[in-house]
């Protein structure tokens, strides 16, 4: 696997299109159309596009997986480079699983509805719902990240919002804990929707009369270890009438889904995902994820997993 090539592909794509993989901007905000969310406002929902991108990233990883280890792998990728990266990558991501695309859009809609049900007033950014640039940061492409982050920060500031509501662990972390280091004077308040739901839990009402079921919780590393979001999801799931089970490694000591090395070593990523999936399955109960990367990774190795927002919306809306 030619890591340099992959890194430069990702960086160039973000630079040219704003996204690590080529997607139509419409695909990023079309999930919100049926909801008629107001534009802007004091508080805005900022998805950072990660849920929307996850199926496309997954498709790219499947492609890399098929190239890995084959000697032709490096060659095919290099060819892709000379033939124009964007077009070729476009073909790869065009194979994204439509079911998965639908699923992540439903997750976002559920999050939005849950916030409304909790009495939170907020708007959406539509085409200004930019990608956060988190992959650039994770890969150590600091200069490209700093440039991108500046643009994102300017856009968010221009919206006039003072509170940014995030929906996934990576975007939450990068916006709340990394942006202040890389963007001069970045001072927007960043909160995750699980934190907000938990604060407003009294405004939510669990549906009565429906039987609960057992769920096993898979904490994302960045919620649990970097952003201190451990109790909120448990509290919300229990409030929704579900029985929460802990896997052997959970909370602060949760175990990675393998996602972060998916582009560098797909085979290693797969094995880590399998290790984690076995562990989760061993507990018994429906597996709950809270991160789009965890979601596609555990699914790629055959896991039956569902996002927390779907569980909550079924029981609380």
């Amino acid at each position: 696997m030619d890591v340099k090539l992959i890194l430069s592909l990702l960086a160039e794509n973000v630079e040219r299109t704003g996204y690590p993989v080529p997607v139509d901007v419409e695909r990023i905000y079309s999930w919100a159309k049926p909801l008629n969310l107001p534009r802007g406002g004091r508080a805005v929902l900022y998805t950072g596009a990660l849920y929307q991108l996850a199926p496309y990233i997954n498709s790219l990883v499947r492609h890399l997986e098929s190239l890995e280890g084959r000697r032709a792998g490096g060659l095919a990728l290099r060819l892709a480079k000379t033939l124009g990266k964007i077009i070729d990558l476009g073909k790869v991501v065009a194979k994204a699983d439509p079911g998965e695309i639908k699923a992540v859009e439903e997750v976002l809609r559920s999050i939005a509805r849950l916030l409304s049900a909790a009495g939170v007033e907020y708007g959406y950014l539509y085409e200004d719902d930019m990608y956060s640039g988190v992959i650039l940061y994770d890969m150590g492409l600091d200069e490209a990240f700093a440039r991108h982050a500046k643009m994102v920060a300017e856009t968010l500031e221009k919206s006039g919002a003072s509170l940014i509501i995030t929906v996934d662990p990576h975007t939450t972390h990068v916006l709340r804990s990394v942006f202040p280091e890389y963007v001069d004077g970045f001072g927007l308040e960043v909160k995750n929707y699980l934190e907000i739901l938990s604060e407003n839990i009294d405004s939510l009402k669990p549906r009565r009369g429906e039987a609960g079921y057992r769920v096993v919780i898979h904490d994302p590393c960045f919620y649990a270890r970097h952003e201190g979001i451990v109790e909120e999801p448990r509290q919300l799931l229990r409030f929704a009438g579900l029985e929460v089970e802990e896997p052997p490694r959970s909370g602060k000591m949760t175990y990675c889904c393998g996602g972060p090395v998916e582009a560098v070593s797909p085979s290693l990523s797969r094995r880590i995902a399998e290790t984690r999936l076995r562990e989760l399955q061993g507990v018994g109960g429906r597996i709950v994820t809270m991160c789009p990367i965890c979601y596609v990774n555990l699914r790629r190795v055959g896991g039956k997993v569902e996002d927390i927002a779907l569980h909550l919306s079924r029981r609380l809306l």
Binding site: A11, G140, R225, M253, S265, L268, I272
Partner: protein
């Protein structure tokens, strides 16, 4: 040019994933190993307190490393040991080779810094008969491979594999594959080497600048023999092992043992100078029962330079407990196949950057998940995942990305 290349690292990792013996060995060793440390810490909460003190003591030394090296040298002289300072791995090898010479029988106790400077191979190439005496390390020597964990170098070998190595390479007959029998056979075999050895070579867990005393913690008892039986003892010690006082050195040993899930440690050795007696007419004579001669080779090999670097300096606090390795999802599948030619796992990436250069560390960084389980468990709170992300940045910079 870095001495590690990402392409080779990726190949090694793939090979490790496809090696069923390695995977089975890791699986067997792994089960339970992870739970023991939290149990020990729950039973002995004072260890957490000591870990904070060790962290603080190490910070103090690293802020003023040159002065502490000087103090250590003076204190070593004060207790009758002969100190040496080696700037590079090569210098360290030469100093030890100069003391040992050739045609000698040498027994070694497990030392990462000895592996780092390639000591065993060098002494063998000069015509010495060299034996690792730690069972795991001996198996590694027989296999001709590299240690797979900081504390448990042969963690990847199953008993079947170990039995095969011992019977084939040592030419001793084993009746079965019982672990007890392997241990007994090795014990008998090495006993003779200990008695005949001209030189014993050890590392150190910590060296006290105030007294020139150093401590070595162990379970097998081989260190007592290596450092006590031959007439000459050479300790090879990285300068990062210097702590202000002998009390600090004890703390390091206790914390390391606990975090390596070997608590209480079976043996704790303290060595302050060569063996001596003044029992007759109060006249001090060296070499009573222990070695009359003690050399201590202090090894820099990149440590002093790293101590001045913002993030990398923090790696130097490492007490080599290996906890970060056991908790790492990548290490769990690859053991030390990832992390560098000598060290491995999360701490290995940092140590490779210290000892082989930052560019080499950078070639390893992209296999890190950044999941930060390691940060969570390190007793001296080394920000391992942040060090590795910084190395990813160096990789991007040095490859024009």
């Amino acid at each position: 040019m870095p001495s590690v290349a990402l392409e080779e690292v990726l190949r090694d990792v793939r090979r490790a994933l496809e090696d069923p013996a390695l995977q089975e060995g890791l699986r067997r060793a792994y089960t339970g190993a992870e739970r023991r440390v939290p149990e020990i810490l729950a039973e002995h909460p004072e260890i957490l307190e000591l870990a904070r003190r060790v962290e603080e003591a190490k910070r103090r030394v690293l802020e003023d490393l040159d002065r502490y090296i000087e103090m250590a040298v003076e204190s070593l002289k004060g207790v009758g040991a002969e100190p040496h300072f080696a700037g590079t791995a090569e210098e360290a090898r030469e100093i030890v080779a100069g003391i040992v010479g050739s045609g000698k029988v040498v027994v070694m106790s497990k030392s990462m810094v000895a592996a780092e400077i390639g000591l065993r191979e060098h002494l063998e190439s000069l015509g010495n008969e060299v034996w690792e005496t730690d069972l795991g390390e001996l198996l590694i020597q027989l296999q001709g491979s590299k240690p797979m964990h900081t504390i448990a170098p042969a963690i990847h070998l199953t008993r079947e594999e170990a039995a095969r190595l011992v019977s084939e390479k040592l030419g001793v007959k084993l009746d079965g594959e019982k672990i007890e029998e392997i241990v007994a056979v090795v014990r008998r075999y090495l006993r003779d080497k200990f008695v005949r050895a001209d030189v014993g070579i050890s590392g150190a867990n910590a060296l006290a600048a105030d007294t020139g005393a150093f401590v070595l913690v162990e379970n097998e008892g081989n260190i007592r023999l290596v450092t006590g039986l031959p007439p000459l003892h050479i300790a090879v010690v990285g300068v990062d092992k210097i702590v202000p006082t002998l009390t600090d050195a004890f703390h390091v040993a206790m914390v390391q043992a606990a975090y390596a899930s070997l608590y209480p440690p079976t043996y704790l050795n303290v060595i302050a100078g060569p063996s001596s007696t003044a029992d007759i007419e109060k006249k001090r004579v060296y070499g009573a029962h222990g070695p009359p001669k003690l050399h201590v080779v202090l090894v820099d090999n990149g440590r002093k330079k790293a101590a001045k670097k913002p993030l990398l300096a923090e790696q130097l606090r490492c007490i080599r407990c290996g906890r970060c390795q056991l908790e790492c999802p990548v290490w769990r599948l690859t053991a030390n196949h990832w992390g560098g030619p000598v060290y491995g796992g999360p701490m290995g990436v940092g140590w490779t950057a210290v000892t082989l250069g930052e560019e080499s560390g950078a070639e390893l960084a992209h296999l890190c998940l950044g999941c930060a389980r390691c940060d969570e468990v390190c007793p001296v709170r080394i920000p391992l995942s942040r060090i590795i992300r910084w190395l990813k940045k160096l990789y991007a910079e040095s490859h024009g990305l």
